[in-house]
């Protein structure tokens, strides 16, 4: 069976002033696929996924998300696409003037995802339970630890049941046990909702558990793609080095 492409990036370029970050990046993501992206810090991984949701405007290239060219569509179409794409920010990006409950309620309310308040509360509690933080429901973000913030942010990303999820380092700043749990959760979400994801990570355990294949990013391009096992046993030392 031919698989459906949910993200197609073709030959994308992006530079800031005189700083070339992306130099002809191409990738395709299929329905139900978990694609890992690894690369050195500051290489442009976050910029790449920001370009995919057009938080950053690429200089050149094509980006198709769920069959729509998002660089050519208008604001309303773009908004509809974005509702179907979940984005976990590297720093969490919790709304710090709102409690955890309000943080999760916010996207539901603003996108009118469910009509009834009762359903919304159920969604919120379910989502918090899946990241194991139901007790924090009435806390403010300032009262949470860094790892807790990350997990709340993940819960908020999941709440709109997106078709695609872009994870920007889902496990950094977490202990080994919790990051293992998050990696398992990523797999569970994929199985439950058949989501496709791009997972940026430095955590090799997460890469091993949660991804189907991994791309290595270097100098604004992808160096190599393969499964965790293939890449970690690569002939080239340069590639193996990413997996130590």
């Amino acid at each position: 069976m031919e698989k459906e492409n949910v993200i197609v990036v073709n030959n994308m370029y992006k530079s800031f002033k005189h700083n070339d970050i992306l130099k002809g990046i191409s990738l395709t993501l299929q329905k139900g696929e978990n694609l890992g992206v690894v690369g050195k810090s500051g290489i442009g991984k976050s910029v790449l996924i920001k370009c995919i949701v057009r938080l950053i405007e690429p200089d050149r290239g094509e980006v198709d998300v769920l069959g729509t060219n998002i660089l050519k569509c208008n604001d309303i179409e773009l908004n509809e696409i974005r509702k179907k794409v979940g984005y976990l920010f590297q720093g969490g990006a919790l709304y710090d003037s709102m409690s955890v409950r309000e943080n999760l309620l916010f996207p539901i309310r603003r996108t009118q995802f469910v009509d009834k308040m009762h359903d919304a509360q159920e969604l919120i509690e379910g989502s918090l339970r899946s990241v194991g933080l139901i007790d924090a429901i009435d806390k403010m973000p300032s009262e949470l630890s860094g790892g807790m913030k990350k997990r709340i942010a993940l819960a908020r990303t999941l709440i709109l049941k997106p078709d695609i999820i872009l994870y920007d380092e889902p496990t950094t700043g977490l202990d080994a046990v919790t990051s293992g749990e998050i990696s398992e959760l990523i797999i569970k979400i994929r199985e439950e909702y058949n989501t496709a994801s791009i997972i940026i990570t430095h955590d090799m355990k997460c890469a091993k558990i949660a991804t189907d294949s991994i791309k290595i990013m270097k100098d604004g391009r992808f160096l190599e793609q393969g499964t965790y096992d293939q890449l970690s046993r690569s002939e080239e030392k340069e590639i193996r080095d990413y997996f130590i």
């Binding site: 908004n79 509809e80 974005r82 979940g86 920010f89 709304y95 710090d96 603003r110």
Partner: protein
């Protein structure tokens, strides 16, 4: 020796070129800013007509912003009225036109000083506050997070604040005007005793409805631009923490200037009509 001199001159030239470039960037920046601000305004105004509307946010911000400046605006108005009266009194007494005093004060306060001074205070307090708050949200990617979840931050964060200042600033101006008349009343009573009703009658004797309408209308514009510029500066803030301070700073400068420009435009229009 000669070589050293040349290199020194080169260095100096380089420095001067850099200053030149920075100046050019500054002026280019203003025009780019202006263009972007117009686009931004269009987007914000469009949000006013797109549901879901955030009445709760609007009321919350109106209350918070109004509350923040009420005392300051009141005290400033009171002192302005008092001081202005004490300064004008001897001049008008020389001409034997003492009974005109309340009217003169009322005209200058309600037509010009009340709106402009309140506008400037709000530019300093509200515009910078809004700028810093939204810039902090931008820097910590909260605005981006709203954007990518399709939650339209322009409506939730920006439109509600712009509407709030548009509502609140005119109210604050009326408040300042009232307090300035109180101050004037007190000052008049230092020189001679005058009953309050007579004072009020004299004050409004020189004011027409046509005075009040443009004076109030321009405060609506003041409010709109104070909110808008604060939001714009916050929304377009850069990436580092220092851009929070920068946003607050530039918001004050730009909105204060805008207030004078709007004031000028209104005076020109009303003097032509």
């Amino acid at each position: 020796m000669a070589r050293i001199k040349i290199s020194v001159i080169k260095q100096r030239l380089k420095g001067r070129l850099k200053v030149k470039e920075e100046t050019r960037n500054f002026y280019n920046g203003i025009f780019i800013d202006l263009g972007e601000l117009i686009l931004f305004t269009g987007k914000v105004i469009r949000q006013f007509f797109q549901p879901p509307f955030e009445f709760r946010e609007l009321i919350k911000h109106s209350f918070l912003l109004g509350n923040k400046s009420l005392a300051l605006v009141g005290v400033t108005g009171f002192i302005m009225g008092l001081v202005l009266t004490m300064q004008m009194n001897p001049i008008l007494t020389d001409f034997g036109a003492q009974t005109l005093l309340p009217g003169v004060i009322a005209v200058s306060m309600i037509r010009e000083l009340g709106p402009v001074i309140t506008g400037l205070i709000c530019a300093g307090k509200l515009s910078s506050g809004i700028g810093a708050e939204i810039a902090a949200m931008t820097v910590t990617e909260q605005i981006d997070a709203m954007e990518v979840s399709g939650s339209r931050p322009l409506s939730f964060v920006v439109a509600s604040r712009v509407l709030a200042t548009t509502l609140v600033v005119p109210v604050l101006v009326i408040f300042a005007d009232a307090f300035s008349l109180l101050g004037a009343f007190l000052a008049v009573n230092i020189f001679e005793s005058m009953p309050f009703t007579l004072f009020i009658n004299l004050s409004f004797s020189m004011l027409d409805f046509v005075d009040l309408l443009p004076a109030t209308l321009k405060t609506v514009f003041f409010g709109f631009f104070i909110g808008l510029i604060g939001c714009y500066k916050g929304y377009t803030a850069g990436r580092g923490t220092e851009s929070v301070g920068h946003a607050a700073n530039t918001a004050v400068v730009a909105s204060s200037l805008t207030i004078f420009v709007i004031d000028l435009i209104f005076v020109l229009i009303t003097s032509i009509l």
